[in-house]
């Protein structure tokens, strides 16, 4: 049995890898159709088997799998291994990842139809799927880090897919470096785990963790910090990079330079949620440090609120969605901080569907608009693109958390959970997630109205060619719209009663914020009814109403508001100045330090003063040495050979 499941899990990981290798190395031979066929088959196999695994573990109560595949290395008795841990949490992630990936693969056939790098693109996204699966299926920190960096590299390659564009290759380098800042913290966290636990195997670490709860560590001499807090915060810095939490969020909006399918796959549904997944996976550690939980919650709250605000002033359709993603990742992070890990992963799941849907919908619009992404040039598209329109509407209402749609269930759960949290910072977080509901509704429907309703602002030539996109594009939209509606209904009960995650997530009784919600939960329908009477619903409707009034009824108003609040507008327009600061302080600073050390340190001081200045001293010293050693025959011989060769080569050179 165990052997069978190991073969199956291996197949899940390796199928996309083989697809990627075939499309990558044999792209010329198997051609375009061959490339998308092999990669789609690979990912489809992975999805089918993942879904079976998910069903087997969550519904049929199958056993948890935790075993080593091979030993990466043994160092001083510490076994570093590559292996799988397949439980409720990882099987859910596998299913979500492979499903979205499959949809994106199909969609890409249409989106990248005319691109010369067709095979390369399929190879990359399949390879990404492989990397993401190794990350979520890992049973240890080392492999987690492998997958973590590998998805980062695939993101780097895909953002820079159109390598001739200066903006794309700027964005991908930026994304990689900012992620590396997070990884730097992450690696130190792993080092701390290895040092104190003597193992990188999840099960061992989680088991031992409660015993080390009281341990302290002196990062600064004389200052004792809780070991768990230090480890968790270091690990979370990694999550801040990957899941784009402030201030390491700066790479995500720029990553939109990549082709739209990868914005949906990597920068909305899967890779950016790796940080959220990681923290949920580490719940047995995070639960032991309220400091770390508070830190997580506050960072998430700031991100949720501040990034949503920026979304209001964006005019590039993909950037609006990108800031929305940042804000939603903030929601998930807040949930993690409140110990509502299940809520965070639930929102991760629903968000994966509706955000992938929104991105792919945006891609569909972009195709129709001949790659114009400015929403100010759109308007009234609903007439021309009915499928895109309806599915985008479904995605938008799911995003704002309209009762009954998937985003509602997960978001309301988070808001409620934060309300119950008693950790420091929970009050601020509660305010942020509530205010965020209004802001989300405002920017989402601003975009929706500007794109699909109102005046048709595009040029006549574009308008004449507007039409719905082909079936390979719209089919994934429909396929994603379905879960965007139903997944909340299906999931809410099992999230609350703990069936969905079983023991894969650990929550201490005093942090159990979902408990009171579960106690009052009777049915999904009741949850919806309760939602309609709640504050979030009112706020969301207010947001939609304001968007409707400002962008459909009185379209001249936004410009006037912009002028009256020029300062605020500029702050948002400049995204709070993070990019400028990083550009000047970090990028410029590093180049400045480098130049000073090179020209000043290496060239002027070491070479200029010390070396050239002491050249004569060296010669003198060497001659003295020679006298001291002149009694030895072998040295005479050596000196002769050397001297002879110096002379010969001198002769040859000149």
């Amino acid at each position: 049995m165990a052997q069978n499941s190991q073969t199956m899990y291996l197949a899940i990981v390796l199928a996309p890898l083989f697809g990627a290798l075939l499309a990558g190395f044999g792209g010329k031979i198997i051609g375009r159709v061959g490339a998308h066929t092999v990669t789609i088959i690979g990912v489809a196999i992975a999805f089918g088997l993942s879904a079976m695994t998910f069903k087997g573990i969550v519904f049929d109560g199958g056993p948890i799998y935790d075993a080593t595949l091979y030993t990466w290395g043994v160092i001083e008795g510490v076994h570093l291994e590559v292996g799988f841990r397949i439980d409720e949490l990882s099987s859910l992630m596998m299913t979500v990842v492979t499903f979205v990936s499959l949809m994106v693969h199909i969609y890409t056939i249409g989106y990248m139809h005319d691109d010369p790098g067709y095979q390369r693109f399929f190879s990359y996204i399949s390879l990404f799927t492989f990397a993401m699966l190794t990350l979520v299926m890992s049973n240890n920190f080392l492999q987690l880090f492998f997958g973590w960096e590998a998805v980062g590299v695939m993101s780097y390659l895909l953002i820079g897919f159109w390598y001739q564009r200066e903006s794309a290759i700027y964005a991908n380098l930026k994304a990689f470096l900012v992620n590396r800042v997070g990884d730097f913290g992450f690696l130190l966290g792993i080092a701390a785990v290895l040092m104190y636990f003597g193992s990188l195997h999840y099960a061992t670490v989680f088991e031992t963790a409660p015993l080390l709860r009281e341990l302290t560590i002196q990062v600064f001499p004389g200052v004792n910090w809780s070991l768990m807090s230090v480890i968790c915060i270091l690990l979370f810095i990694g999550a801040m990079g990957k899941s784009a939490q402030m201030p390491l969020h700066v790479w995500l909006p720029d990553s939109m330079e990549g082709p739209t399918p990868i914005s949906a796959l990597i920068h909305a549904a899967t890779m950016v949620t790796a940080g959220i997944f990681m923290v949920a996976r580490m719940s047995p550690l995070f639960e032991l440090s309220e400091t770390a939980l508070s830190f997580v919650m506050v960072i998430g709250a700031i991100t949720a609120l501040a990034m949503g605000l920026v979304g209001i002033v964006q005019n590039d359709i993909k950037r609006v969605i990108a800031y929305s993603t940042l804000s939603q990742l903030g929601y998930m992070t807040v949930a993690l901080g409140a110990s509502a890990y299940a809520g965070a992963i639930f929102h991760l799941g629903t968000h994966a569907f509706f955000k992938a849907l929104l991105f792919l919908g945006a891609g569909s619009v972009i195709i129709a608009m001949h790659h114009d992404q400015d929403i100010r040039n759109m308007g009234g598209l609903r007439k021309y693109m009915p499928i895109t329109w309806i599915t985008a509407l479904i995605g938008s209402v799911a995003l704002i958390g309209f009762p009954g749609f998937s985003g509602f269930f997960s978001k309301d759960l988070i808001i409620e959970a934060v309300h119950h949290s008693e950790l420091p910072g929970a009050g601020f977080a509660y305010f942020s997630v509530l205010a965020g509901v209004f802001i989300t509704a405002l920017y989402s429907f601003r975009m929706y109205f500007l794109v699909f309703h109102g005046k048709e602002r595009m040029s006549a030539s574009v308008r004449s060619s507007l039409r719905e996109t082909p079936g390979v594009v719209t089919a994934p939209l429909i396929m994603l719209a379905i879960p965007s509606v139903v997944i909340g209904w299906m999931g809410i009960e099992s999230v609350l009663n703990g069936e969905l995650f079983g023991h894969s997530i650990m929550v201490l009784p005093e942090h159990n914020v979902l408990g009171p919600i579960a106690a009052n939960f009777h049915s999904a329908g009741g949850f919806v009814l309760h939602g309609i009477t709640g504050a979030p619903f009112v706020l969301a409707m207010a947001g939609v109403g304001v968007a409707w009034y400002l962008y459909l009824v009185r379209p001249e108003l936004p410009e006037r508001i912009k002028q009256s609040f020029a300062l605020l507008y500029n702050v948002l327009e400049q995204k709070y100045g993070f990019d400028r600061f990083n550009e000047v302080f970090f990028a410029g600073g590093a180049r400045g330090i480098g130049t000073v050390l090179w020209r000043g340190g290496d060239a002027a001081i070491i070479d200029g003063l010390v070396i050239n200045g002491s050249a004569r001293t060296v010669a003198w010293l060497a001659s003295v040495m020679r006298h001291i050693q002149s009694g030895f025959l072998f040295h005479y011989a050596l000196a002769m050979i050397l001297g002879l060769l110096v002379m010969i080569s001198w002769f040859v050179i000149l």
């Binding site: 492998f146 390659l157 130190l188 590093a590 070396i611 050693q629 080569s649 040859v652 050179i653």
Partner: protein
């Protein structure tokens, strides 16, 4: 029967004799013959070195494949060879890289091609000799002698400022070596033996140890190279022909790290402990300071040279954090992570730096420029090459799954045990390494076609693909499955740690 074959001697002398044969057989008119002999010799030597691995006894830290003959009996100097888990991988690295260099030089060198190839073969034998020598004078002779072919390679086939670079290279290394000889003579005067194993046992006072440590350091720090005696390396690399850079970075720098492990640490353990703070400091300066310097280099070869110095900082750091852990905890438990990481880093850097220099060489052969600004958009005309260079650039940035990660990871893990801030500073390489490598990659490879030169580039040919593939294999292998390499290192490193944990005072 097989055990009676003097394998190490064969690996040392076969390439030297092959080199002489190349010199005799291949004049200016007979270059094709010279190439074939050179390639055959290098492949034969590599094949000869493989039994060192296949017949290696993993259970012991003792020297294996030992050969011993009296050489200068009056001073008890012996022709004494042998390898353990520390030197054996370095020997195979040397024979492997030499094959790569011969292939890469195939049609590139136009002048005195036979002599060029012969120099590398002779150099190969001498380098293996230095790694395998168990007698300190034998080591010294190989160590000094191998300067000569390197000196000639840079001086004859180098770039326009080759004379300056050669003299700088020679002065730096020779000055250090002289001090090492003094130290060896002093040790002989004290213990009456030149055998390295005897030197390890020689009791010495702290003052003696400190002086000897510093004398050895003068030789080894220059070779590694450690800050601040590193400034010869960028100059030497820039002027050296591609093959010279490859050997220099891939193998010769390792002699410095190897020397520290074989001589400094076990001969002067108390001084190593005493001076470990300084050594860690210098290593961190190399990692961080040089990392910043690498970012702003306008010359690709210089950039990779600085990157080498920064990466070798991990090799020295890994060695000396062992002493910090020992000082803090009173035991060497946990120190093996750093020392093994240091060795893995050296071997991995051998492959990656070779690959990076060859990548620059591939472009240099076509456009005759090393300046980043002369390139841009190379991927448009050389897509296969761009893919290979991407792999090696990522390996150079320490990507998990490539060998570049393994050593850095282990050293950072080990450093954390010594001190949070050491790990913190060392960990900065994650950011700096990615910054200088990938920023260069962006400017050289990505983007629209930069100029007419780039527009006219032809992609890598079969020979170039061959050596790039040959290097990609170990880079990925060590990255995905370092266990076999770690198995080789483990007993010898453990033995070393036991040795240096015992005070000589």
């Amino acid at each position: 029967m097989l055990a009676d074959i003097p394998l190490l001697s064969l690996i040392i002398w076969a390439p030297i004799l092959g080199g002489i044969w190349v010199l005799i057989a291949g004049g200016e008119r007979n270059v094709p013959t010279a190439r074939v002999i050179a390639l055959a010799t290098s492949i034969l030597t590599f094949l000869l070195s493989l039994p060192l691995y296949t017949r290696f006894d993993l259970s012991t830290a003792d020297m294996q494949f030992v050969e011993r003959m009296p050489w200068i009996a009056a001073f008890d100097i012996n022709y004494h060879l042998g390898v353990d888990g520390i030197s054996m991988p370095l020997v195979i690295l040397t024979t492997f890289i030499t094959v790569i260099v011969i292939i890469s030089s195939w049609s590139v060198i136009k002048q005195r091609a036979a002599q060029y190839l012969a120099a590398f073969l002779v150099l190969e034998g001498l380098m293996v000799g230095a790694f395998a020598a168990l007698d300190s004078i034998l080591f010294y002779v190989f160590w000094e002698a191998l300067l000569i072919p390197m000196f000639l390679i840079i001086g004859i086939w180098g770039g326009p400022r080759r004379v300056y670079a050669t003299i700088k290279f020679f002065l730096f290394t020779f000055f250090g070596s002289v001090l090492m000889l003094v130290a060896l003579l002093y040790l002989y005067a004290q213990g009456g033996s030149f055998a390295i194993a005897d030197l390890h046992q020689l009791p010495l006072s702290l003052t003696e140890q400190t002086l000897i440590f510093l004398a050895f350091l003068a030789a080894f720090a220059v070779k590694v190279p450690m800050w601040p005696v590193h400034t010869w390396l960028p100059d030497a690399h820039v002027e050296a022909p591609t093959g010279g850079s490859v050997i220099l970075a891939a193998v010769m720098l390792k002699l410095g790290g190897y020397g520290l492990i074989r001589f400094s640490l076990p001969i002067a353990p108390d001084a190593s402990l005493e001076l470990s703070g300084m050594m860690i400091g210098l290593s961190l300066v190399a990692i961080v300071y040089i990392g910043f310097v690498a970012i702003v280099q306008p010359d690709m070869k210089k950039l990779i040279a600085y990157s080498s110095i920064s990466h070798m900082g991990f090799a020295t750091l890994g060695l000396f954090i062992a002493f910090r852990i020992f000082a803090d905890t009173g035991s060497m438990a946990g120190a093996g992570m750093g020392v093994q990481g240091s060795l893995v880093q050296m071997i991995s850097h051998g492959f990656i730096s070779a690959a990076m220099f060859l990548c620059v060489g591939v472009m240099y052969d076509r456009l005759h420029s090393r300046d980043i600004k002369d390139y841009g958009g190379v991927v448009n005309t050389m897509p296969i090459f761009a893919a290979f260079m991407m792999l090696f650039a990522l390996a150079n940035s320490g990507l998990p799954g490539t060998s570049g990660f393994v050593g850095e990871f282990m050293v950072i893990m080990g450093s954390f045990k010594a001190n949070f801030w050491i790990a913190f500073l060392a960990g900065l390489t994650l950011i700096l390494g990615a910054a200088y490598t990938l920023w260069m990659y962006k400017r050289v490879i990505f983007g629209p076609v930069g100029n007419d030169g780039v527009a006219g580039l032809s992609d890598v040919n079969g020979r170039e693909i061959l050596f790039l593939v040959l290097l990609a294999i170990p880079v990925l292998w060590i990255g995905l499955w370092p266990a076999p390499l770690l198995e080789i290192l483990q007993p010898s490193v453990e033995n070393l740690l036991q040795q240096i944990a015992v005070s000589k005072l």
